[in-house]
Assembly symmetry: C2
Homo-oligomer: 336 residues x 2
DNA sequence: GTCCCGGGTGGCATCGATGTCATACTTGCT
DNA sequence: AGCAAGTATGACATCGATGCCACCCGGGAC
């Protein structure tokens, strides 16, 4: 007997038939609407149970207004703790409102991102949260005012009027720079990621502004940008240390680059000072000084903004800035 | 003017009207079905573009069979790197087949888990991947053969005939025990999580079997189970070290507990040897010996099994076991 | 004994798309 | 010229639930 791969689920009509009532009455009973005789209600419930009936949410949604209880998140790979911490915060907040989260990884590819956004919109998500890979959000502008609330996370919505939750990138980077300057460092290297990403630009700017206000220019030969992965960061830091006059301190502008730097410094006898942007697990054990911020809060705030829009809020676009704080754990306090 | 919070999206009927064709023809044109005159196709496409039309996936799904392109994942908090790594693997694999992932956090609460599964089933997910919080999966049994494929991750489906992807927990734990024994250790502590979780039981068993085969019993006073979070693990390890005769080695049975142990050992002068189950970021920098396994692969394999079922595969339940490997990085090679 | 009211129920249209079938009009062939 | 085959199009039912409206009936008010 070639067993069926899927067994069709019973419909409400079948439940009604078994209970000996009309479709409509069965619907009322299962939805606990008023004006259903207790005995009828029980009969319908029993029929539903014995058939293993389960409401068809798709049909309900279609009837109720063609909008789902889903919220979409398009971000980078969840394997990166930054994205997963944000996703976790979002999910927690959404659940409070009975909303579910669909996630998709843009693989840092703008084209893919776009098609994912399309797919989400087709599924009629109630809101769309995006941590865009690039800076070109124009394609979202078209959708923006067509009823689906957008919230940008970690990237400013660049010309587009949409809600956003950002990190105080410039402020955090400035504090890192100032911290190292205060520790007596002057030859400070900055290892930064792709400058096409707005947060990276802000971090670079913040760091530079700290240097400039202080009147320090010795950092300039040690600027390294476009360092995009752990391996590359490790190599870059190794190379920095091999210079004739190596830097006495290093500032890495995100968690991946900090990881690379830590690998490079692992067996170095007198390592330079190190401050990393983004806190990470075990930074305390490693004694790594970081510019920390609450990643879960980023997600929660974004979800909150989205929920307010879903609930009908219509004010102008808002931007929430999550503050940073420098946590000194030792690596940033080493002297040159 | 109180602007509408949501602008209704145009329907296919409106597109058809604008293009001056029938609903059906517009449908054909946008779906690139054959037998549409080129000029008609263009007219419809233009009308759709100018109205900002987007297909209503909900309606389509209802018509096409009341089943969505969604796959659900119910797991623990994505903030835990184990879960997020698994989720990342799942998402990657699903995307290849045009499926989207909905995630939900069970907060280690069986009741919540159950209601999330319900919510997913109502949304007519095509498959359901579960990393159950508890051992009671009976409620899933009812659903199991009703058409929605289930895949268990990291927990055996306990009596229920469902596909599963497991880690070689016993084997991994045994290798950790043997490694420490080979290093000359006898007074070996095991710090384990809640024994109600099957993987924990297997890890405990594996470790114990290594001890037993070797004829070592000195570990027994140092067994600590029901240690469920980082803080608790840290405290437990501190307490172990304060014993009159402290253990010379410690085996922690998951990533959280390893983190706690590392915190406790941070400033200890002659720390005991340490082997942790689960690899983690920066374990190399910290020099932590671990029992590693491919978390992404767990997700990928689970998604693959689910996809095969979705595609009609009807064989008996399968179980895939992901192997482990001990990675020596120093902490496990310290001698007593 | 009417009338009215409201509890309990059912009929039917509807959400937005797609599948089936029917139809008008070409084309190509004998 | 006449007919089969194929192309381009449209009408209508349908997926599974819910909203609106109509109906039946029993009991209290007058």
């Amino acid at each position: 007997m070639p067993s069926e791969s899927t067994v069709r689920r019973p419909t409400l009509t079948e439940v009604a038939a078994l209970a000996g009532v009309s479709l409509k009455t069965a619907s009322r009973a299962l939805n606990r609407e008023p004006n259903v005789a207790p005995s009828t209600g029980r009969r319908v419930q029993d029929a539903a149970d014995s058939l293993g009936y389960r409401l068809n949410g798709i049909a309900r949604e279609l009837r109720r207004g063609a909008t789902s209880a889903l919220v979409g998140l398009v971000s980078g790979d969840l394997a990166n703790p930054f994205y997963s911490a944000v996703a976790s915060g979002i999910e927690r907040e959404l659940r409070q409102h009975g909303l579910l989260l669909i996630t998709a990884n843009n693989d840092e590819d703008a084209e893919l991102e776009r098609s994912l956004v399309d797919a989400f919109l087709e599924r009629r998500v109630r809101a769309l949260l995006v941590i865009p890979s690039g800076d070109d959000h124009e394609y979202l502008a078209i959708e923006g005012n067509r009823g689906v609330p957008f919230v940008f996370l970690d990237r400013p919505p660049d010309g587009l009027a949409a809600d956003a939750v950002l990190i105080d990138n410039a402020g955090g980077a400035r504090s890192a720079g100032e911290h190292l300057l205060a520790g007596g460092h002057r030859r400070i290297a900055m290892v930064a990621d792709l400058a096409r990403m707005a947060p990276q630009r802000s971090r670079i700017d913040g760091f530079v502004s700290a240097m400039t206000s202080f009147g320090n220019t010795l950092w300039e030969p040690y600027l390294r940008t476009e360092v995009h992965d752990v391996r590359h960061a490790e190599r870059t830091v190794r190379d920095l240390l091999l210079l004739e006059t190596p830097p006495t301190a290093i500032f890495t502008t995100n968690n991946r680059l900090t990881t690379g730097a830590l690998r490079a410094l692992r067996d170095v006898v007198r390592p330079p000072a190190l401050v990393g942007f983004d806190d990470f697990d075990l930074a305390d054990v490693l004694g790594t000084t970081v510019v920390a911020h609450d990643m879960g809060a980023i997600g929660r705030e974004a979800a909150r903004l989205a929920y307010e829009r879903i609930s009908g809020h219509t004010g102008p676009a808002r931007t929430i800035v999550i503050s940073t704080s420098l946590i000194a754990r030792g690596s940033g306090e080493r002297t040159g």
